[in-house]
Symmetry: C2
Subunit: 319 residues, 2 copies
């Protein structure tokens, strides 16, 4: 039987999404399981394999699966392992041979693993806003800041498979915010959903400026967005600041790999009406003249619900 | 006749070095001409072609030249042009079709062009300290700071051919030194030979600390090195500061492309006895834990006189 389908899996901290995908990028069957009900990986792999077999049956795809692609936090493409992923309940500091375990549980179907941001970049290149681009940088603005770098049409993995940690480049050199990674001043500490909420809390404390955000118990980046939409001046300035920090960093990224575009993806990227202008301003002010106003800033064009599955599935076609 | 030789050319602001190179990386004939006696490129190309024909005759290499590789400031690999090279007397803001002109003057021998730092990286990968490495970053510490980035065994050119301007990433975000590129706070403004001399002048003005450097009319980075060798405390601190700035930036570069090594090259790299320790300290303090103490810092192992020619010649083998 022709092996004309692949499976894409997006392993997140709370849930794992998986789907059967055809060559045109249609998700023809999908499901979601919880990622966080086990502290050991073995029962999770069992549940995942059972879920995959269900959607294979749903799609009438027995014998037609060419390969499985998975994106996961700290997934290592070279080794097929998940290493040091504290956000996964079964992750911790262990090295988990994820690709090998899943392939065995799936009767030998080959499994390719990468990190979630690289999977998103693959998806964007194959099906989304970066189609036809050979050089771009994908920045995922979610709870944290991730990145997938594409050079000459290929994901950059580097010497050890972990390249592309742009969320942990330095945005603020001195007295920067503490970051979850243990360092200070990382881009992620400012320009993630978490960072935006933190900016809001800090700024509310620093002045008595009126703002709709003051009435909230716990502020999320979504709250800041909603307030900005209502014209809240402080909320709008928070996005201006966030965009400036992003644009400054993007200028340095451009000087590294001279991409055709920076592609933004993830929850915080939905605030584009407030982010685009300050990002472009800071990016063009800080980049060498030869790239000024030349590098595009584009937003993911994939349906958010499919993007992660499609990205991971794109990896499987290369198996 | 077998085409078993190539020519490497290093175009610098003052001089242009060229050599006939065999497959083992032996420079079997070489010469140097002035680069700065013309304001128009045509007579320079004529002189260069005449010089090449002389060394081809010296090497008894008529009919054996497979190709010519040239490294030049702002040389663009994709277009074969030198664009906006103010350091070349015949450069200015024009676009010069260097590869095409030289090939025509050399009876159709193909010419490949790249920038000088990329040529150095090619040379280091083919003949030098980076032999066998597929992922490394070459940093040239000369009058300025240049860079050549190698990923998966290939020079990174990016979308437009100008990738790898790491000397113009931001080292000091606020109130940074003005850089020749028009921006402020660039790595080059601190960590080049020029930058070291500038640090010396600034620090001498800021205090009355005794230093051998005070007696000099015009301070060069070589003077700072000589003073440091004599135990001059201020001079040693200047290198500590320079190394710290470099190490901080290298940490961000590692987060981008996860190289096996950073390779240092150029005049200022000769001060390695004073630079290595502060670079490694700052690099390892500022990089994500997963790369701490894992990325090598190595120094060019090519004879300086041959390195530039060899680097450019490596490009010619790919023609």
């Amino acid at each position: 039987m022709e092996k004309d389908l692949v499976i894409g899996i997006d392993v997140g901290g709370q849930t794992t999404k998986c789907g059967v995908v055809d060559a045109r990028g249609n998700v023809i069957a999908q499901t979601v399981i919880r990622s966080d009900t086990h502290t050991d990986v073995a029962p999770f792999i069992d549940e995942l394999a059972a879920a995959l077999k269900r959607i294979i049956a749903d799609a009438n795809a027995e014998g037609r699966i060419r390969g499985i692609g998975a994106g996961a936090p700290n997934g290592n493409f070279y080794k097929g392992e998940i290493e040091n992923a504290p956000n996964l309940t079964w992750g911790g500091t262990k090295k988990i041979p994820f690709a090998k375990m899943l392939s065995e549980a799936m009767d030998g179907i080959p499994v390719s693993l990468t990190n979630d941001a690289n999977a998103a970049a693959m998806g964007e290149m194959t099906y989304g806003a970066a189609r036809g681009m050979k050089n771009f940088i994908m920045i995922t603005l979610g709870t944290g800041v991730g990145s997938g770098i594409v050079i000459n049409g290929e994901i950059v993995y580097g010497h050890d498979g972990f390249a592309g940690e742009l969320g942990h480049t330095c945005a603020v050199r001195n007295n920067g915010r503490h970051c979850n990674c243990g360092k200070s001043g990382c881009l992620e500490a400012y320009a993630s959903a978490m960072g935006v909420a933190r900016t809001a809390r800090e700024w509310l404390e620093m002045s008595d400026e009126p703002s709709a955000l003051r009435s909230l118990d716990k502020i999320t980046s979504k709250d800041v967005y909603d307030a900005a939409k209502e014209g809240d001046k402080l909320a709008i300035r928070i996005f201006e600041y966030t965009g400036k920090i992003l644009g400054q960093s993007f200028a340095d990224f451009i000087e590294f790999s001279a991409p055709e575009a920076i592609v933004l993806f993830g929850g915080l990227a939905r605030s584009k009406e407030f982010l685009t202008e300050p990002i472009l301003k800071a990016m063009n002010e800080n980049v060498l003249p030869l790239w000024r106003n030349k590098v595009k800033l584009v937003y993911s064009s994939l349906k958010e619900s499919d993007a992660a599955i499609l990205g991971a599935s794109a990896l499987a076609w290369e198996l």
